[in-house]
C-alpha cells in the first residue's frame, strides 16, 4: 500500500483497517500509545485557564492571515530577501523538487540531511533527488525508521507509531547493522544516533520544513525534539527550508499563541525541546526558502474547506480519532492520515481518496482538540456529500440510499416495511443472518425482533387522532 500513495489507485480504507486490526499486539499498542498522548494533551489543556481563549485566538489569527495571504507572503519575501535569504516560489510538487535539485546540483551537493517535513513528503521529494544521485538522509528517528523501511510516515508527529520496537530492531538490523535480537528502544535510538552523526558532518546541505513563517521578520520557525533540525540547519554550509504557503503568521508575538499550544496538543509537553528561528544565513552560510503552493491556493477558494489551511500539523486529531487509532496510518493511503487526512487528501484527488470521508463516525472529538478550531467533522460530512455528487460511491450504495429515501418519504410504504422488518428478521435462519455478506452480523449479534412496532402498539393501545 505504501507505494500506492503517488499512484491514482483508489484507497480501500476498510481493507487496510482489516489488516491492521488482525494483528492484536500492534493495534493494541497503537491505540494505547495514541490515547496516552491524548490524555497528556488533556492534562495540559486543563492546566491552562486561558486554553479555550488561546484556541479562539489561534483560529482568528489564522483566519486573518489566510484572508490576507498574498500580502503576508509578499511581506515575508521582502523581509527574507533583505535578510540575505534567496526566496523561491513553487506552484506544485514538481517545481519544488526541481528547485531543490537545482540548488543542490549547482553546488555539487552529494548528501542532504533533513528533518521531518510533511511538505517534502507531499512532494515525494526523496525519490526525485535520489534518482538524481543525491543521498537524502532523514534525521528524525521515526522518519528515518520509515525511510529505511521504505514506508511513508503513518502519523504526522510520530511517523513510526504503528511499529513495535521489535519491528524497528528488524529494520535497523537490515539497514544500519544493529543487533537483530536487541529491541531495547535505548539501544536502537543510540544505534540511529551513531549512524546519523557522520552524515551531519559530511552533508553538503541541510533541509527542514517549516512550522511557522513570520511575515514581519522573514523568519522560518521549526519545532522539533531531537535536535536534528538544528543540526541540519547549522552544520552544513547550505540551508534550505520548504514552506507551505499556509504557514504564514503576521508577527513574532503571534508565535506565543501557537507555540504554547503546538506541543501541548501534539504530545502533551509544554514545548518542543527546540523551537528554532531561522531568519538570516549565518556568517559564511547560504539560505534558501521555498514557498510552496501545491494545491493550497485552490483550497483557499473552496468555501466549505478553506478552513483546513489553518492546520498546524500537531496531530491531535489523529491521536483522539477512535477510527485512526484502530486502523493505522497506512490504511488512509495518503500523505496525511486520520481526520485531517480525510479532509485534506480529497482536495488533491477526490476519486483516489473518496473512501476517507467515510472512515469516520462523525463523533467530533477531532474538532474539539484542534488547537486552531478547524471544524474537521463538519468538513468530513460535507465531503461525503461531494463524493456522492461526483459519483464516487458504489452503485449499490447510491441505489440503496435512493430507495431508502423513497421508502422513508412514504408513510404507507414505510409501514409495510417496518411491520414486516422484525418478523422477517425473526424468520430468517441464523446461517443467513450471520454470513460473510452481512457486515452487521460478522462480529455482532442482531437485536431481538419485537412482536410489534411502536406504531402498531400505539394504534392498538392509544386512540390515534389521525389515520395514515
Amino acid at each position: 500500500m505504501a507505494n500506492d500513495i503517488f499512484t491514482d489507485k483508489k484507497v480501500d480504507h476498510v481493507k487496510g483497517s482489516r489488516q491492521f486490526i488482525a494483528d492484536e499486539p500492534h493495534i493494541a499498542f497503537h491505540d494505547k500509545r495514541l490515547w496516552t498522548l491524548r490524555e497528556l494533551r488533556d492534562k495540559e489543556a486543563h492546566g491552562i485557564p486561558e486554553w479555550e481563549q488561546l484556541r479562539e485566538l489561534a483560529s482568528a489569527i489564522k483566519s486573518h492571515t489566510l484572508t490576507h495571504l498574498a500580502d503576508y507572503l509578499e511581506e515575508f519575501e521582502r523581509n527574507a530577501t533583505a535578510n540575505g535569504v534567496t526566496v523561491h516560489w513553487a506552484k506544485d510538487a514538481a517545481e519544488h523538487n526541481r528547485i531543490v535539485h537545482e540548488i543542490l546540483a549547482a553546488r555539487g551537493v552529494e548528501t542532504l540531511v533533513k528533518s521531518k517535513s510533511m511538505l517534502t513528503e507531499e512532494c515525494n521529494m526523496r525519490p526525485y533527488l535520489e534518482e538524481r544521485g543525491i543521498t537524502v538522509v532523514e534525521t528524525d528517528l521515526g522518519e528515518r525508521i520509515q525511510q529505511l523501511d521504505d514506508e511513508p510516515p503513518t502519523h504526522i508527529v510520530v511517523p513510526a507509531v504503528h511499529k513495535l520496537a521489535k519491528d524497528v530492531a528488524e529494520v535497523f538490523a537490515d539497514t544500519i547493522g544493529t543487533d537483530r535480537h536487541n529491541a531495547d528502544p535505548h539501544y536502537l535510538a543510540e544505534g540511529m544516533r551513531q549512524d546519523t552523526r557522520p552524515y551531519f558532518i559530511k552533508a553538503g546541505a541541510g533541509m527542514t520544513g517549516c512550522n511557522f513563517a513570520v511575515a514581519e521578520t522573514g523568519t522560518v520557525v521549526t519545532c522539533t525534539n531531537e535536535g536534528n533540525a538544528d543540526l541540519s540547519g547549522n552544520v552544513p554550509p547550505l540551508y534550505i527550508a520548504s514552506i507551505g504557503i499556509e504557514k504564514l503568521i503576521p508577527k513574532m508575538e503571534h508565535l506565543g499563541v501557537f507555540i504554547r499550544m503546538l506541543s501541548r496538543s501534539a504530545l502533551g509537553s509544554p514545548i518542543t525541546q527546540y523551537t528554532s528561528h531561522f531568519r538570516a544565513p549565518r556568517a559564511g552560510g547560504e539560505s534558501h526558502f521555498i514557498l510552496v503552493d501545491n494545491g493550497r491556493s485552490d483550497r483557499l477558494a473552496m468555501d466549505d474547506f478553506w478552513y483546513s489551511l489553518k492546520c498546524i500539523r500537531c496531530g491531535a486529531c489523529m491521536n483522539t480519532c477512535p477510527v485512526y487509532r484502530r486502523s493505522g496510518g497506512l490504511s488512509y493511503g495518503g500523505v496525511y492520515a486520520g481526520p485531517i487526512g480525510a479532509i485534506i487528501n480529497p482536495t488533491f484527488d477526490l476519486k483516489k481518496y473518496s473512501a476517507l470521508p467515510f472512515a469516520s463516525t462523525l463523533n467530533g472529538s477531532c474538532s474539539n482538540v484542534c488547537p486552531v478550531k478547524i471544524n474537521i467533522h463538519e468538513q468530513i460530512y460535507k465531503w461525503r456529500q461531494i463524493v456522492v455528487e461526483q459519483g464516487q460511491v458504489s452503485f449499490v450504495k447510491k441505489e440503496s440510499m435512493k430507495l431508502a429515501g423513497k421508502l422513508l418519504a412514504d408513510p404507507k410504504r414505510y409501514r409495510a416495511w417496518s411491520s414486516g422488518a422484525g418478523k422477517a428478521l425473526a424468520k430468517l435462519p441464523r446461517a443467513f443472518l450471520y454470513n460473510p455478506f452481512n457486515a452487521w452480523g460478522k462480529q455482532r449479534e442482531l437485536p431481538e425482533p419485537p412482536k410489534q412496532t411502536f406504531h402498531q402498539w400505539y394504534a392498538a393501545n392509544r386512540k390515534p387522532e389521525t389515520e395514515a
Binding site: R33, L57, A60, I61, H64, L66, T67, A70, L73, E74, E77, A90, D140, L141, G142, I145, V161, K163, L164, A165, P185, A189, R193, T196, F200, I201, T217, T219, N225, E226, G227, N228, D230, L231, N234, V235, I245, M252, E253, H254, L255, G256, V257, R260, L267, S269, P270, I271, Q273, Y274, S276, H277, R279, A280, P281, G284, D293, S297, L300, A301
Partner: protein
C-alpha cells in the same frame, strides 16, 4: 507568468472576505514566581538545574564532567579546553564533549533558555556537543512565551532557539529517551551576569 505571480494572483482571486487580526494578551496574571516555575518546567523537560556552585564553575565542571576531553567554552567565566572564538567551521565541533554558553534570557512557563549566534559563537556548539551547560542569570527569567515573543532579540538574531532541556525522542514505542540527535544532557547553572 512566474509561479510567484501565479500563486499570488490565485490567492487574491480566492475571494476570501478579510477577517480582523485579534490582539494577543500577555496572560501573565496570577502566575507562580518565575524562578520556581522555571526550575519545575526545566526538570519536567529533562534539564537539570544547579545553583551557583560554591566551589566555583571550573571545579564544578571538573567534577560533573570528569571524563570530558574537549570542553568548548563560549563564556568568559571558564576557559575550557577550546575557545569558541578560535573555531570557524561548525563541523569542527564534532568531538566536543561539553559546550558552555550563556543564555540571554529564559522562560519560566516552559523551562526554555534563549540562545542565538551571539551566545553560541558557532551555532553547532549547541547541537554537536554531547552535553550542554547553560549559564543563566536568575534575573533574566520571563514569565511566559507571550513575554518572550515580545523581545526584540528575535528580530535581530540571524538564528535563535528556545532550547528546553536536552534533545529527546519517544519515537520507538513511546519510550522517552533523553539524548536523541543533539545534546544528551542540558544543565542550567545559576550565575548572575558579570557587570
Amino acid at each position: 507568468m512566474s509561479s510567484r505571480d501565479a500563486i499570488l494572483s490565485k490567492l487574491r482571486a480566492a475571494g476570501r472576505v478579510p477577517e480582523p487580526l485579534p490582539e494577543v494578551p500577555l496572560f501573565d496574571e496570577g502566575l507562580p514566581p518565575v524562578l520556581d516555575q522555571f526550575k519545575a518546567s526545566l526538570a519536567r523537560m529533562g534539564g537539570q538545574w544547579v545553583d551557583a556552585p560554591a566551589e566555583g564553575l571550573d571545579a564544578w565542571l571538573g567534577q560533573r564532567f570528569a571524563g570530558a576531553q574537549v570542553v568548548c567554552s563560549a563564556v568568559p567565566e571558564t576557559m575550557g579546553t577550546l575557545r569558541i572564538a578560535t573555531v570557524t567551521d561548525p563541523r569542527a565541533l564534532e568531538n566536543v564533549d561539553v559546550g558552555i554558553v550563556r543564555a540571554r534570557f529564559a522562560v519560566a512557563e516552559t523551562g526554555s533558555v534563549w540562545l542565538s549566534e551571539a551566545e553560541y559563537g558557532v551555532n553547532s556548539l549547541g547541537y554537536l556537543a554531547q552535553h550542554l551547560v547553560v549559564l543563566l542569570d536568575p534575573a533574566a527569567i520571563l514569565p511566559n512565551l507571550h513575554h518572550a515573543y515580545r523581545q526584540a532579540a528575535f528580530a535581530d538574531a540571524r538564528y535563535c532557539a528556545l532550547v528546553t532541556g536536552p534533545s529527546a525522542t519517544a519515537d520507538i514505542e513511546g519510550v522517552l529517551i533523553r539524548g536523541a540527535q543533539g545534546v544528551r544532557t542540558l544543565t542550567v547553572v545559576a550565575l548572575a551576569t558579570p557587570r
